[in-house]
């Protein structure tokens, strides 16, 4: 599998993402700078987390208007795979590739812990090594992870089975014995972690 990692000013863990992809795929990923308007022909484009452009205005807002974004959109429209981790996911919503938006956590606190996700649809590209209903552990670390979509998009996500993972609040309560986080859902949060676990 050929891949590319896009770095924005103030991205972080992009190097980890690069190393993980190299280890798993056996091929060196392309390094893409946000000002590059062309991305080589790859199977997967990965957007790392961090605090692109200092989180100014809204998280991911500036990054979503970078020259590299057009190439990412074109790649997605051709059926290419894209994954955004953390701030990378915020960029994907800000650029309009994914519906909804990520807002400030309801608690107003930075959330850093391991959460349990239930695999809702194991037919997806990012979930097909799991089975339906399987519960997996995923680490989270964010201040703006409160996913919001209006009713229309929310119903569409549920109806078309586009939700690969659903956060299991019951399981969180059982296992963690704490109150759940704000997440209603977490879409492909972390292929890196999932892929490393499977490797």
């Amino acid at each position: 599998m050929k891949s590319a990692v896009v770095t924005f000013p103030a991205s972080n863990c992009d190097r980890d993402m690069f190393d993980a992809l190299e280890k798993i795929t056996g091929k060196t990923p392309h390094h893409i700078w946000h000002q590059d308007s062309e991305i080589p022909d790859v199977d997967l484009i990965a957007l790392p987390g961090g605090f692109s452009f200092g989180d100014y205005l809204r998280c991911g807002a500036m990054a979503a208007r970078s020259p590299a974004i057009k190439a990412i959109m074109a790649h997605a429209e051709r059926g290419g795979k894209v994954i955004g981790v953390c701030n990378g996911f915020q960029v994907l919503t800000e650029m309009g590739l994914l519906p909804g938006a990520l807002m400030r956590n309801k608690s107003l606190k930075f959330a850093c812990k391991t959460v349990q996700l239930k695999v809702e649809n194991s037919n997806g590209t990012f979930t097909n090594a799991y089975s339906d209903g399987q519960v997996i552990d995923i680490p989270i670390a964010h201040h703006d992870g409160n996913y919001f979509a209006d009713d229309e998009h929310w119903q569409d996500l549920k109806r078309t089975a586009k939700l690969p993972f659903v956060m299991s609040i019951k399981l969180v309560k059982q296992r963690m014995r704490q109150t759940p986080t704000d997440h209603k859902i977490i879409l492909p949060v972390s292929l890196m972690n999932a892929a490393i676990l499977l490797a």
């Binding site: 208007r65 938006a101 807002m103 956590n105 309801k106 107003l108 409160n146």
Partner: protein, 79 residues
């Protein structure tokens, strides 16, 4: 020419920061504050001299960058 842009959260979108402000006001003894919604204020100095053209231009800015239409509304004042 100056443009003043207010970005506010849409009705129905949860505003935890607004809620925190409301609680803080209550704790300070300011009773009777039924709800608080917070937002952003952006001031732009424009070279444009035509008011209608300036407004149209700022409207584009709001749609493309300044606001996220999924969760936010904007209003523009030009003078």
């Amino acid at each position: 020419m100056k443009a003043r842009v207010h970005i506010t959260l849409k009705n129905g979108v949860l505003d935890p920061q607004g809620k925190a402000i409301q609680h803080a006001l209550d704790a300070l003894g300011f009773s009777g504050v039924d709800d608080v919604r917070q937002g952003k204020y952006i001031e732009l100095d424009l070279a444009e001299t035509d008011k209608a053209a300036a407004k149209a231009n700022v409207e584009e800015m709001c749609k493309k960058l300044l606001s996220n239409m999924v969760i936010e509304n904007y209003s523009i004042d030009i003078d």
